[in-house]
């Protein structure tokens, strides 16, 4: 394969659409894409085995930019850091803002800056854990890159996936992102302290999540006031 073709395939994979592939390389693009997804799943399974072997509870936290993932993690870490040795892996396009915020709550953090990638993948997580002694941790959180689309493509090997939305994103946000909710164990509807002002139909949001995934646990929270944070920690089994 020529260098030019390789680059072309790389670009198409980044865009995650085989429709853009020229006829001559379409089969190759599809085959490569399948292999990449399969490799991610195999690696994620291996990561999960390592977590289980070391009795680590692990969570992949997904949600849009500004949904409150970091604020929730701050509240959670504040509560659990004295009893659970915790590592938080933060994914962002750039900056160390989230890791710096979370680190203030006595937990270890590792920042991944993905540059142009819109989600973390199992390879990123593996690169970190193979350089860590997992015996030193009880809980690992992965705060994924902020969006509700790309992370559904890549599982990371965590026990549970938690999707965070906020009522400021509108009551259609769950209905518009079925894939993530189908693949999540817990859905958090955050910023309920703003409910009176916004009048968002939370019942609709809960019912949408349950329709897509009857097994999903749905909880409403306010990272700002701390409402239901203890209940969330309980649901997470921490």
């Amino acid at each position: 394969m020529s260098d030019k073709e390789e680059r072309e395939i790389g670009r198409i994979q980044e865009l995650e659409s085989t429709n853009l592939a020229r006829e001559e390389i379409r089969d190759l693009v599809i085959e490569t894409k399948k292999k990449v997804e399969r490799d991610n799943d195999i690696l994620a399974e291996r990561i999960n085995k390592e977590f289980v072997k070391n009795n680590i509870k692990s969570f992949d936290i997904v949600g849009s930019i500004g949904a409150g993932k970091t604020a929730l993690l701050e509240k959670i870490c504040e509560q659990i850091s004295s009893k659970h040795r915790t590592l938080v892996i933060c994914g962002d396009i750039t900056t160390r803002v989230d890791a710096d915020r979370i680190e203030k709550h006595n937990v270890e953090t590792v920042q991944i800056n993905t540059g142009r990638e819109c989600a973390l993948n199992a390879y990123h997580i593996n690169q970190i854990i193979k350089n860590k002694d997992l015996f030193n941790y009880d809980v690992i959180f992965v705060e994924n890159v902020g969006n509700l689309i790309c992370p559904s493509e890549f599982i990371l090997g965590t026990d549970k996936r938690i999707t965070v939305v906020s009522i400021t994103e509108g009551e259609w946000v769950i209905e518009k992102h079925p894939m993530l909710f189908k693949m999540s164990d817990i859905a958090i509807i955050n910023k309920i302290d703003l409910l009176e002002r916004l009048g968002t139909d939370i019942d609709k949001m809960i019912s949408n999540a349950k329709n897509y995934n009857p097994k999903i646990e749905v909880i409403t929270t306010s990272a700002k006031t701390g409402e239901n944070i203890n209940k969330l920690i309980e649901i997470m089994g921490l």
Binding site: D3, R7, G10, I93, T94, R96, V110, Q111, I112, N113, T114, G115, R116, E117, H124, Q127, I128, N131
Partner: protein
């Protein structure tokens, strides 16, 4: 960080008399030190992926689709090609790497220029002005 890098430079000054076990220890100490010097704010390139800790010296050029980290040190005036992936690796000053390099637990000596594509190496020191893989000097440690 500077003193750790100097120790490495001194230990590989004379290629024929490198003590590999000594180099391995100095190298590991330097890798551990990188976490106190994470610095990725100054590079020329197209948004690589960084897994901290990573230290980038001055005037580092980074190609397309590059993954750096964890535990990567890159000295001043280095140039990395496209699709380069480095972890637990120290690249000393004025080094040029070609496209599609995957280095893990590697050290690249100052002023080395690896002007070719595709290299996958682990646990070694790389030295040379090489236009092909065959011209590259490699010392395992």
């Amino acid at each position: 960080m500077k003193e750790f890098i100097e120790k490495i430079e001194n230990s590989i000054k004379e290629i024929d008399s490198i003590h590999t076990s000594n180099l391995r220890n100095i190298f590991q100490d330097a890798l551990k030190e990188i976490k106190n010097h994470h610095k990725i704010d100054n590079y020329i390139g197209d948004f690589p992926t960084f897994i901290e800790p990573v230290y980038l010296g001055d005037s580092v050029k980074i190609g397309d689709d590059v993954l750096l980290g964890p535990n990567v040190y890159i000295g001043n005036n280095c140039e990395l090609g496209d699709y380069v992936e480095l972890s637990n690796t120290i690249i000393l000053d004025n080094v040029k790497l070609g496209n599609n390099f995957t280095l893990e637990n590697c050290l690249v000596k100052t002023d080395s220029s690896l002007n070719f594509d595709i290299l996958k190496e682990k646990n070694c020191l790389l030295i040379g002005q090489a236009e092909s893989k065959e011209n590259l000097k490699k010392i395992s440690f």
